[in-house]
C-alpha cells in the first residue's frame, strides 16, 4: 500500500514538474496556460493523496474552473505588437535574462530546501479525514471574520474590475 502511495506521489510530481516547465518556458501563452492547468491537476492529486478530498475538489473548481478561464480571457483579449494573440513578444530571450531569472528562482528555493532537509520535523501518520462539517463550523465560528473579509475582498476585486473595464471603454 505504501509503495502505491509513493508511486502516486511520483506520478503527481511528474505532472507538476512537466506542467510548471511548460508554464514558464513555452513562448505560446495558451500552451503555458495548459501547462498551468496540468500543474493544478497534479496539486489536486496531491491533496487527494493527503486525504483532503474537499481541498482537491475546491482546487479543481476554483483554479481549473474559474482562474484559468479568466487567464484565458486575458490571453485572448490582449495582443502583442505583432497583432497575434497569445504569443509572447520578442525574438530569442537574452541569455543574461534567463541566467538572472534562474538565479532568482534557484537561490530562494535552494535556501528553503536546505532548511526543509535539515530541520524537517518528524511527520505524523496521516490523520483521519476531516469531516466537512467541522470546516464549516470553524469557518462560521472562530474564523467568521476571515470569511467575511475574503467576501469583501472578492466583492471589491470584482467591482474594481468592472469599473476598470468601463473606464477603458469611455476613454477609448
Amino acid at each position: 500500500m505504501e509503495q502505491l502511495a509513493y508511486a502516486a506521489y511520483g506520478l503527481y510530481l511528474v505532472l507538476i514538474l512537466t506542467g510548471a516547465w511548460v508554464a514558464v518556458r513555452c513562448r505560446n501563452l495558451v500552451r503555458a496556460l495548459l501547462g498551468l492547468i496540468m500543474t493544478l491537476f497534479g496539486v489536486a492529486g496531491m491533496y487527494f493523496l493527503m486525504a483532503a478530498p474537499f481541498m482537491a475538489l475546491m482546487q479543481i473548481l476554483i483554479y481549473v474552473g474559474a482562474v484559468s478561464v479568466l487567464i484565458f480571457f486575458a490571453i485572448m483579449l490582449t495582443r502583442t505588437s505583432g497583432g497575434q494573440a497569445g504569443e509572447e513578444d520578442g525574438g530569442a530571450r537574452p541569455a543574461l535574462r534567463t541566467v538572472l531569472a534562474l538565479l532568482s528562482g534557484l537561490l530562494p528555493a535552494a535556501i528553503l530546501a536546505v532548511v526543509i532537509l535539515t530541520k524537517a520535523s518528524q511527520s505524523l501518520p496521516l490523520k483521519p479525514e476531516m469531516p466537512l462539517g467541522r470546516l464549516g463550523q470553524f469557518l462560521t465560528g472562530p474564523y467568521v471574520l476571515a470569511f467575511e473579509l475574503i467576501s469583501v475582498v472578492l466583492l471589491a476585486a470584482m467591482a474594481g474590475a468592472v469599473v476598470l473595464g468601463f473606464e477603458r471603454r469611455k476613454s477609448a
Binding site: M46, I71, S81, E88, P108, I116, S123, F138, E167
Partner: protein
C-alpha cells in the same frame, strides 16, 4: 525522507518555477501564470503541514481555501489591469510598460 518533507519539496519546486517564470516572462499574462504557480505551492505546503504535523487540521485547510479565494480575486483584478494596459499602450509587454503616467 518523510512524507512531510516530500510534499514540502513539491511545494518548493512550485515556488522556484514561479519565481523563475515571474522574472523571465515578458508579458503580463505570463507573469500572472507564474504567480498562480507560486500561490498553488503555498496552498500545498499549508495543507501538507496541517495534515502531517500536530498543527490544527481545520486551520490549514481553511488557510488554503482563503489563499484560493485571494488568488481568484487577484486574477480578476489583474485581468482588468492587463486589459486597461493593453488598450492604452497596445501591448502587455512588461519591458515596454515603464511609464507611471503615459
Amino acid at each position: 525522507m518523510s512524507p512531510l518533507a516530500l510534499f514540502h519539496l513539491a511545494a518548493l519546486l512550485l515556488l522556484g518555477f514561479g519565481l523563475y517564470g515571474l522574472t523571465s516572462r515578458r508579458s503580463l499574462v505570463g507573469m500572472l501564470i507564474s504567480v498562480e504557480l507560486m500561490l498553488n505551492g503555498a496552498g500545498l505546503a499549508l495543507v501538507a503541514s496541517a495534515r502531517l504535523t500536530p498543527a490544527s487540521d481545520e486551520l490549514g485547510q481553511l488557510g488554503t481555501l482563503l489563499v484560493m479565494g485571494l488568488a481568484a480575486a487577484e486574477a480578476t483584478l489583474v485581468l482588468a489591469m492587463v486589459l486597461v494596459a493593453a488598450k492604452r499602450w497596445g501591448t502587455s509587454d512588461s519591458d515596454r510598460l515603464s511609464m507611471l503616467k503615459g
